[in-house]
Amino acid sequence: MFAAISLASLGVGAIAIAPQDVLSALLGALAGQELSASEDLILFSVRLPRILFAGVVGASLSVSGVVFQALLRNPLADPFVLGISGGSALGAIVAIVIGASAFYLGLPFLAFAGALATVFLVFIVAGGPRGVLLDNSLLLAGVVVNSFFSAAILFALSVVDSLELHSISFWLMGDLSRASLAEIGGSALCLGVCFALLYAQARKLNLIVQGEETALQLGVNVRATKYILLAVTSLVTAVAVSFAGIIGFIGIMVPHMMRLVYGSDHRLLLPAAALFGASFLVAADTVARTALAPSELPVGVITALCGAPYFIFLMRRKERR
């Protein structure tokens, strides 16, 4: 499915290219044929990298969503709602403002620091007695932390000179268009490694979902597992955010849909969420760049437009039970 959506997305754009032409161009390129210059430019320099990047980011955010929901035993958790995305974004903006982004990996590093700090903060705000997380206070903590970060981000933006302002605010709503090939490769590599680490913990996740005490009793070293999972998911989120900005709600919608289809076993759920999340974001990004063509929407606008109603629907259904 990811392949089909990518193929369709390759063809759609301000300049439409018919699907069979896309396919033959791809096959032709594989076979080493020369392409017409404009097709080559559009397909391989503009659209293909962007599609790959959308796939990586979509998979990253969806997988993070799966893990956060399992760790917190709350189907409404995801990096965006919990404020982790906001924390990464703040870290990234601080990097831009203080000029750390000029250093190698300075930007993703500060984004990661921001993500970790947020995880820490949310857990403190939402923590009940003896480290027990209270269901609703967690979402509340996310809201509080999120609004704090938006204020901090706005503050940071007002110190930045106005030339950068437009691009930063565009990036904040999710922008897949500016990633360089190196960034795409780096984030794909990071996703690959992190996914392997997370997948190795998949069965432990199944047990943790049953409650931490149950997991302990069944032989899981819960504390260590939790720290590993939190650190790895924070890293995945931070990398996605530092290159693509804040793209919300994917981490809620995708895991939930996949649970309906594949059940709750994380050994199936994680790869399913990664693939579907990738497809979903490619589709959303395709809509984002074609809906008002030739100008573009930030892709975060599209995901939030579908995601927020979905969130409300989930929440109301949960309350009725």
Binding site: N206, Q210, E213, L216, L218, D265
Partner: protein, 260 residues
């Protein structure tokens, strides 16, 4: 004299400022069925959590199968001790069979899927607790009694040497209570399974346990055979109730009748 499978030596434990267990010592011999009784807040559940090493004593030590619980790895302890919890949160819809298979976790390498032997053990456990009929239904959709049977099956799938039960019969109907109790006695006889169960039902304890441990205010009040422990004085002192005690004509067990 058999060696004890479990010995508690001067266990003391407190939550922030209330002492829950106070200098408790006892020994349990292998292949015994032991009931832990006592009023609300006497420390029964906390003791159970120590026995499966989810809590550790502040002072004193708890030795299971010759080794201090602090020195067991999580996987080792999960192969030795299994617990059937009172209830379990069910947020995500797992299948009943998946829940039972989780009992095989301590035996599996981290990336392996369950193999045929694991499935066989899980199915056998589900057969014993009469769960096969809803193996492929969602745990979240089952009734309280059905869930409890699934959790019992999961504990059996751990193939433990010691089985801990926390009020595990409360949601079961009469038929399944009877099945479960005779299953416990059979496993106890045939596989030398040690069973330690917490209950408020004193007659259930007297009928099924070899030994009773009576806790009161975090202290061991008495331990011994039902006849030793269930005396009118003990029960008056601990529960503040008047009881009549006689022999159950059906199985000869000690029978306690509340006099109100």
């Amino acid at each position: 004299m058999t060696t004890p499978v479990l010995s508690a030596r001067h266990i003391t434990f407190s939550y922030t400022d209330t002492t829950v267990l106070d200098d408790v010592s006892f020994e349990i011999e292998s292949a015994n069925i032991v009931a832990v009784i006592g009023p609300n807040g006497s420390g029964k559940t906390t003791l159970l959590k120590m026995l499966n090493a989810t809590l550790f004593p502040d002072s004193g030590s708890l030795v299971i199968a010759g080794r201090d619980t602090k020195r067991w790895s999580r996987r080792q302890i999960a192969r030795t001790v299994a617990i059937v919890p009172q209830e379990t949160p069910a947020v995500f819809p797992f299948f009943a069979e998946e829940i039972v298979l989780m009992g095989r976790f301590p035996y599996l390498r981290s990336l392996a899927f369950e193999d045929r032997a694991d499935y066989r053990i899980a199915r056998e456990a589900m057969e014993q607790t009469d769960c096969l009929a809803f193996a492929h239904r969602r745990f979240t959709e089952l009734s309280a009694g059905e869930r409890q049977r699934v959790l019992i099956a999961r504990a059996l799938a751990q193939e433990p040497k010691i089985l801990l039960l926390d009020e595990s019969t409360v949601f079961l109907d009469l038929k399944h209570q009877a099945r479960f109790l005779s299953l416990l006695r059979r496993l106890n006889r045939e596989r030398q399974l040690t069973v330690i169960f917490v209950t408020h039902d004193i007659n259930l304890a007297a009928q099924n346990a070899h030994r009773l441990l009576l806790l009161y205010n975090g202290k061991k009040y008495a331990i011994g055979t039902p006849a030793d422990v269930l005396t009118a004085e003990n029960l008056r002192e601990v529960y503040d109730v008047a009881v009549g005690i006689d022999q159950n004509p059906h199985d000869g067990s000690h029978r306690v009748t509340l006099l109100t």
